[in-house]
């Protein structure tokens, strides 16, 4: 175990908090893997060792789980993870072209990271935002109704050190490591930021109002 003492101590404290959420200790493994990503930016050998020790598993057992899930990265991830949905609906609506231009501009392919460690690119499966197609996700925040221009603008903004503002999400995109910590179940106090819903989520509601239909009444 090569985490320095203070990191190891903090991790152990967080891990204890995670264990308290489950009746059976092993259930903590997925959040623990998100947690080690929040420290190392990927599931590092140290991270695997840490999870194994905490759960009394072999590191092979932990690796077998980690490699099953696409959100756990095997190499250091970029500060910003830019995902383009290229499942059928988004791909057809323009996702394929967005991906082509973005990948050409950033100069890396699927699941690769720029040399400066700023940007990782990923082709995503359907991210449950089809009514906002074409969809991108940056550190798992929604960027709706994208175009090649708005996608390339994200790259410019990252390189200029500007904050990125999701369409439906927090006031700004937090870093990949910070996002991983949230996914480990640690609140970052941003739940109240952002909108309730985008226009497409409200499309039926708008129509019902326009027509004077009152489905909710009894």
């Amino acid at each position: 175990m090569t985490y320095d003492e203070s990191t190891a101590k903090l991790l152990a404290k967080d891990a204890a908090e995670i264990f308290a959420r489950y009746p059976v200790r092993r259930s903590a493994l997925l959040p623990l893997l998100h947690l080690v990503q929040s420290v190392d930016g990927y599931v590092s050998p140290d991270g695997i060792q840490f999870c194994a020790e905490q759960l009394d598993l072999s590191s092979a057992e932990v690796s077998a789980v980690a490699t099953f899930y696409t959100q756990y990265k095997r190499r250091p991830n970029g500060e910003y993870q830019l995902g383009v949905c290229t499942n059928t609906l988004c791909a057809v609506m323009g996702g394929d072209e967005i991906w082509r231009q973005l990948s050409e501009r950033v100069g890396v392919g699927h699941d690769e990271t720029t040399a400066d460690g700023k940007i990782s690119l990923e082709r995503l499966e359907c991210n449950a935002g089809c009514d906002y197609a074409p969809v991108m996700m940056v550190n798992w925040e929604f960027f709706d109704n994208m175009t090649p221009e708005s996608a390339l603008q994200l790259v410019d903004d990252i390189l200029a050190g500007k904050d990125l503002v999701p369409t439906r999400g927090a006031d700004k995109v937090v870093s990949f490591k910070e996002a991983s910590r949230v996914l480990a179940g640690f609140d970052d106090g941003r739940a109240d930021e952002g909108v309730s819903a985008g226009r497409p989520s409200l499309a039926g509601l708008d129509k019902a109002k326009e027509q004077g239909w009152k489905g909710q009444d009894t």
Partner: protein, 445 residues
């Protein structure tokens, strides 16, 4: 049900509060009647709650449409040990996009449903398994749970009834198969998400081998409205065997894509009209009634009532009511090729028919789409589907064959054109929502 000329009205129930300022807050939810159903339920007999949900005819909103009350009724008698409620919030079926906006805008609808359901089935620890790729939904859920504790709707001795309930919100880590209920349970136990052999069903041996109810977000979120407004109100919506309202998700080449909450049995023609029709200057080509795992339909199917029975009788499945709509610019071979790649990618590898079969399907689909296929490949696709469907360990295998078989059946000549013309006859730029020139790429080739 009703005569010709009848217009089905939308019925926003779950989505009713989504447009409100800070709709996700406890106070907003409470001010609009939130937790009144829970108040009512905690004063009821547990068996009466289960009976009400049975009588309502509510069927699982996660795809399969299994009667919810009946599922709860399958739990064995209390043996003093724990039993669990696990909410399936994995929503990863291509086309499905209803549970995420529900939890983003109105997470308390779900939490209230969890309180009522847990009370009814005698569960004191419930889990919400949410896909990990939507961080803001996870934040909103965590906050809603914290607020519910603060307001005495979770924790010990809830509202002085002696009922205790803890809720854990658990983030997944990217794997479609974890939406399959037994794979989800393995994943929640900290393992690779691979389906389990059934029986035993989760009701008997689920999470930690204890009796467990697994329900979709929308199923559980519908429970408060049934308790609040009554069984008669719920059954007044829908068709004979498909009761109540549901979220219909329209995406693709329509003018106003989005969520339309309507009684089951509404027709796609009605929904399409409400959504402003197909984008201007184009016509409908094909669509999925319930996500990519359900056989595709064409404009011949616009009057099929969207209920479980009618869609089934017409040769597809209602699934998650995810209508992905494609116009005349779209190449069906390209669309199906991409879905096939998805199933290959998401196959968990546990069984041979699906692991090997999706690999071959993807290979052949790719060959065909890029103009390197032969006529024999088209038959080979169907033969490969034959060796997957009905032989795979879980429903993902069958799902992978649905778009392939249905598209070859409906659009065989389009597959053949890819062979005879040695390439895809469509311009992908024509399908996109923005203008771009798809030619320069070819110029280099």
């Amino acid at each position: 049900m009703e005569g010709a000329g009848h217009v089905t009205q939308l019925t926003p129930v779950l989505s009713a509060t989504w447009g409100l300022e800070h709709s996700w807050n406890f106070d907003t939810y409470r001010a609009h009647g939130g937790y009144e159903a829970a108040t009512k339920a905690l004063a009821m007999d547990q068996a009466d709650i289960i009976q009400a949900v049975k009588d309502s005819g509510l069927r699982g909103r996660g795809g399969a449409g299994f009667p919810t009350g009946m599922k709860w009724g399958f739990l064995p008698a209390d043996d003093g040990g724990p039993r669990y409620l696990v909410v399936n919030a994995d929503e990863s079926e291509p086309g499905a996009c209803k549970d995420m906006p529900t939890m983003m805008a109105a997470p308390h609808t779900l939490i209230e449903g969890v309180v009522i359901t847990s009370f009814a089935i005698g569960c004191d620890h419930a889990f919400i398994y949410v896909r990990g790729e939507v961080i803001h939904v996870y934040r909103r859920l965590m906050k809603a749970v914290a607020e519910a504790y603060d307001n005495g709707w979770l924790g010990t001795n809830i509202k002085g009834t002696g009922f205790n309930l803890d809720v854990t919100v658990h983030a997944g880590a990217g794997a479609y198969i974890c939406g399959e209920e037994t794979a989800l349970l393995d994943s929640l136990e900290g393992r690779r998400g691979q389906p389990r052999l059934k029986p035993p069903f989760p009701a008997v041996a689920g999470l930690y081998a204890r009796p467990t109810v697994v329900n979709n977000v929308e199923s559980i979120a519908s429970v408060p409205s049934i308790i609040n407004h009554g069984v008669d109100w719920f059954t007044s919506m829908g068709t004979d065997k498909s009761k109540g309202m549901g979220l219909f998700s329209l995406s693709g080449h329509v003018n106003r894509p989005g969520q339309y909450e309507a009684p089951l049995g509404i027709t796609p023609r009605e929904l399409l009209e409400m959504a402003g029709g197909i984008r201007d200057g184009h016509t409908l080509k094909f669509w999925t009634p319930g996500g990519s795992s359900t056989p595709i339909f064409t404009d011949d199917h616009l009057d099929v009532p969207l209920d479980y029975e009618s869609v089934g009788a017409a040769g597809s499945m209602l699934g998650t009511r995810s209508l992905q709509i494609f116009d005349d610019t779209t190449c069906v071979v390209r669309a199906v090729e991409r879905w096939t790649e998805f199933y290959k990618h998401e196959s968990c590898g546990k069984c041979t028919p699906c692991r090997e079969g999706t690999y071959w399907l993807d290979l052949i689909m790719r060959r065909l789409e890029t103009g390197r296929g032969t006529m024999a490949d088209i038959q080979q696709l169907l033969d490969t589907c034959d060796s997957i469907a009905g032989r795979a360990f879980c429903a993902l295998g069958d799902a992978a064959t649905a778009p392939v078989i249905s598209s070859v059946t409906l659009f065989r000549e389009e597959y053949e054109r890819h062979v005879t013309e040695g390439g895809c006859p469509f311009d992908p730029a024509a399908s996109a929502l923005f203008d771009y020139d798809s030619a320069p790429e070819e110029a280099h080739a």
